[in-house]
């Protein structure tokens, strides 16, 4: 053993004595061609996306006289929050002149129940489809997925009639039901794939332990599926908050969601175009999805990956 050690050490020592040649971590060049190209592209793309936002913020902080000068890229000479206040509480949409605040609360009252309802139903759907293979499960799943590819426009009028017949047309609960139904295909697919990727033996062990359909769902599956729930919440919050079509079709002026109100403010043809108010109103409307993304960005990416691996 010791003979070996000595015979190995000898050539090693010779190599050691020669201090030239690569050693330690590989040096990285900050200004390599690859880096310049990579970061250059990133900077250009980032500017391309951020410039409109910059114009919006800057314009919303200017007064109308300053806007009329036409320098849309220049920062405001005199910062004013007047347009923001006006957009939130005074801008006129149709008959009401109480600004976007009404639409904001309408949107909250539409989004919160829709998100909770659609995710609650879709997660149980996905769980049942993944773990409790019932007869006709595959057919049911295919029908549901086909639903995701039917254009919304086709179904608008039939749904108007259905809502009218059950007396929910024009009400917020009617719109909540519509959003929940339309979220079903994609959310069910998302949850089914996630639950399918969980080890089958876990489910079997829980059955041997005596847990039933709801017991396994609530005590085993739910605690393990936070990432996919985050993804579903983000998808639904942004989707429903940003919805315009259903909002304008299924609600009345006093129950319009924020997006519809924004459109009415920006597209009003009477009087002077108040660009600063329009910009402030647009930023206000887009703020909710933005905040959601910023808070949960990391979880979102992780969850998308988790749901996407196995199909």
């Amino acid at each position: 053993m010791s003979d070996h050690a000595i015979s190995l050490a000898a050539p090693h020592a010779a190599i050691r004595a020669d201090a030239s040649g690569p050693s330690g971590p590989k040096p990285r060049h900050v200004f390599s061609r690859r880096n310049i190209f990579l970061y250059g592209t990133l900077v250009v793309v980032a500017l391309y996306y951020l410039l409109p936002l910059y114009v919006m913020v800057v314009t919303s902080l200017k007064g109308m006289p300053e806007i009329r000068l036409g320098n849309i890229f220049s920062p405001p000479l005199e910062i004013t929050f007047e347009p923001w206040v006006k957009a939130w509480s005074q801008a006129c949409t149709g008959l009401n002149c109480d600004g976007l605040s009404r639409g904001f609360w309408n949107s909250v009252r539409i989004t919160v129940p829709s998100v909770i309802l659609s995710i609650a139903i879709a997660s149980v759907n996905g769980y049942a489809l993944a773990n409790w293979r019932f007869k006709g499960a595959d057919t049911f799943f295919i029908i549901l997925i086909v639903g995701a590819f039917i254009p919304y426009q086709v179904m608008i009028y039939p749904i108007v009639i259905i809502l009218r017949e059950i007396g929910l047309y024009g009400s917020l609960s009617g719109l909540v039901i519509v959003h929940s139904i339309f979220g079903m295909p994609i959310l069910t697919l998302l949850f089914r794939n996630y639950f399918t990727s969980m080890p089958e033996e876990l489910f079997r062990a829980a059955r041997v332990d005596g847990a039933g359909f709801w017991g396994i769902y609530l005590r085993i599956m739910l605690p393990m599926s936070l990432p996919i729930f985050v993804v579903a919440v983000i998808l639904q919050v942004t989707g429903i908050w940003n919805d315009f079509l259903f909002g304008v079709v299924y609600t009345r002026p006093d129950t319009y969601p924020m997006t519809v109100q924004l459109n009415n403010i920006v597209n009003s043809v009477q009087g002077v175009k108040e660009y600063n108010v329009n910009m402030a109103a647009t930023i206000l409307t887009g703020l909710v999805p933005l905040v959601v993304y910023f808070i949960s960005g990391k979880l979102f990416v992780r969850g998308i990956a988790a749901g996407a691996v196995k199909g």
């Binding site: 033996e201 876990l202 079997r204 062990a205 829980a206 059955r207 041997v208 332990d209 005596g210 847990a211």
Partner: protein, 365 residues
């Protein structure tokens, strides 16, 4: 073993997935306190059979009795079984203690009773220091111990093991194998154990059921299965290194002789399954460790000369490959013997230790 009465009884069980028949009218009686190993290659239906016993798969035909009670339509939890899975299947968000108690909490067992049972299981399996940890913070061996504990706390009559050691490395596997055997001796429960590892099967089982294609080929004590396999599949599946097979003809007469090329092996010492077998094509099988080498070979009823082809040292002994006629033939020698490729050798064996299989049916003769 307290072998009084039947613990698990499977009667005419069949299972079909659509047109595919996975298990065919299978019958199996497991005695009280017996350790049965279901052994077979992958896809033979052994895990499927275990899932049927557990109630995790609905069967197509037949009945299953556990402790004399017909449980064919019962839910898994009502069958009095505990199951240990290959992937451990521990609930990742619960601590070890919560994992152990989950089944009891679902069943609504009183709190102090749960604590008592967990303490006992933890003591038996020596996992007391791990109780507050999550499964992610355990090693493979510890996880499998917890998984066994989960079956243990439920105070079940029958333990079902689905390849519990397959995910562990070789060293841990042999350690846990001994622990499972000790556990069985301590608890005296009925255990049904699925594996594809013949060493686990040989060391653990009271009886082994060798399966192939959804049919139990042979159900016997390990030694019987090893020494008197009922057919060529069982003979080839058990034993590592594998049995040597020589295809040839049997010629009747006194004594009967097995002939393959210029090889003639007298069969007067062979114990035929049934007397008066005629001649015909058959396969002669002899295990490598039943072949005698060197001077001692001269006293055997069959002796021949050969040349060493390849030597495989395995540590405890050495496997030597040679040719008998034109067929590869292996035998074991002690590790101290130094043989080199090309050495001439003399080998012999006693046909009484061999197995003879009818070629068309593959059955033992």
């Amino acid at each position: 073993m307290a072998a009084n009465g039947t613990s698990v009884s499977i009667q005419d069980l069949s299972l079909n997935f659509g047109a595919v028949s996975v298990l065919q009218t299978l019958n199996l009686d497991v005695a009280e306190g017996e350790f049965i190993v279901l052994l077979g290659p992958s896809g033979c239906g052994k895990s499927t059979l275990l899932n049927c016993i557990a109630g995790l798969l609905d069967i197509s035909e037949g009945r299953i009795f556990i402790k004399g009670k017909n449980v064919t339509w019962e839910e898994p939890k009502d069958r009095g079984i505990g199951m240990v899975f290959q992937s451990y299947a521990l609930y990742p968000q619960m601590t070890v203690e919560k994992n152990l108690s989950f089944g009891l909490r679902v069943a609504g067992v009183a709190k102090d009773d749960i604590a008592k049972r967990i303490a006992r299981a933890a003591e038996i399996l020596q996992i007391e220091p791990l109780l507050q940890r999550k499964p992610a913070a355990l090693s493979g061996g510890q996880r499998q111990r917890v998984a066994i504990g989960r079956a243990l706390v439920r105070d079940v009559d029958v333990f079902l093991f689905d390849e519990p050691l397959s995910n562990l490395d070789a060293k841990l596997r042999s350690e846990l194998r001994v622990e499972i055997k000790l556990l069985h001796r301590k608890l005296q429960n009925t255990m049904i154990y699925v594996t594809h590892d013949q060493i686990e099967a040989m060391t653990l089982a009271d009886r082994i059921a060798v399966m192939k294609g959804g049919v139990i080929q042979q159900l016997d004590a390990p030694q019987t299965i090893y020494n008197r396999p009922v057919n060529r599949f069982v003979a080839g599946f058990l034993g590592s290194p594998a049995m040597n097979f020589i295809e040839g003809q049997m010629e009747t007469g006194t004594p009967a002789v097995f002939k393959a090329g210029d090889l003639a092996i007298p069969l007067d010492r062979y114990d035929f399954e049934s007397a008066g077998k005629g001649g015909g094509p058959c396969v002669f099988g002899i295990r490598p460790e039943h072949v005698i080498f060197g001077e001692a070979a001269n006293s055997m009823p069959f002796v021949t000369d050969a040349t060493v082809e390849i030597v495989e040292p395995m540590g405890s002994d050495t496997l030597v490959w040679t040719k008998l006629g034109d067929r590869n033939f292996s035998f074991r020698v002690e590790a101290e013997k130094t043989l080199r490729n090309g050495d001439p050798i003399r080998i012999g064996f006693d046909p009484a230790r061999a197995s003879l299989f009818d070629t068309p049916s593959g059955n033992r003769m």
